[in-house]
Symmetry: C2
Subunit: 115 residues, 2 copies
DNA sequence: CATGGTGCATGAGTGCCATAATACAGCCTC
DNA sequence: GAGGCTGTATTATGGCACTCATGCACCATG
């Protein structure tokens, strides 16, 4: 692996997704503006816009030009379902295969607490 | 995520690593030549060479110019240990955190058999 | 030595990412 | 309507990673 050369806009996208899922931004909430989030994260406004764009296409945020972006109804639920499906079908199989190949013990993995 | 835009040389590197770990290429075995593997995988010889390069730096393969590349002693063991450590310290925490965030049951996932 | 197999160094080309500056379109408050 | 906040479109630029084509250095074989 190459450490974390993950594109900034994807990192931002993940941050926002996580915040929506865990309820930091409930339904109907006004998300941080493109410029505000850019300033806070030290990124370019266009890069932030690119991150938000992903959610617009999926209808997870309502764009009100001149006002801001609102978290759409059931965004958290839908987002969780989407990420869950994608994780289970695309990511987990490979991870599971890797665990087996490395001969790792399930108990040992479960013992580790989050964060 | 964007499906799998994973660089070719990393995919190849993983393939080779897996093959070494599971004993497809035991210690002292001559690995497929750069050109041969390139032809087989439909990749460029230099891309394959880049994949092999990672193993040379770690001393997991012995390069004999004009002959080929040999699997170094204890390569499988060392490789498994390296990958294991890296997985446990760098990858699993993030995965575990994601599992929790998505409301999935880690124990249930690990209980399932591969494939 | 000639041949054909190795790996390797150099260089160029391509595309994605991130940034910047500027301008426009819409909504709210005063 | 004026001013200030939203998101958006346009264009240009620099950097970086990935991939590839060419040619060279090395070794084993006959």
């Amino acid at each position: 692996m190459v450490a974390s050369p993950k594109p900034v806009y994807l990192k931002l996208r993940d941050m926002i997704a996580a915040a929506i899922i865990d309820g930091t931004y409930p339904e109907g909430t006004l998300l941080p503006s493109v410029r505000a989030l850019a300033a806070e994260q030290g990124a370019n406004p266009l890069t932030v816009a690119k991150a938000y764009q992903q959610f617009q296409l999926d209808g997870l945020v309502e764009v009100q030009r001149g006002v801001g972006m609102l978290v759409a109804p059931n965004a958290a639920t839908r987002l969780r379902k989407t990420e869950r499906d994608q994780f289970l079908t695309e990511e987990w199989p490979a991870i599971r295969q890797r665990i087996d190949r490395l001969g790792l013990d399930a108990q040992e993995l479960l013992a580790k607490q989050t964060g």
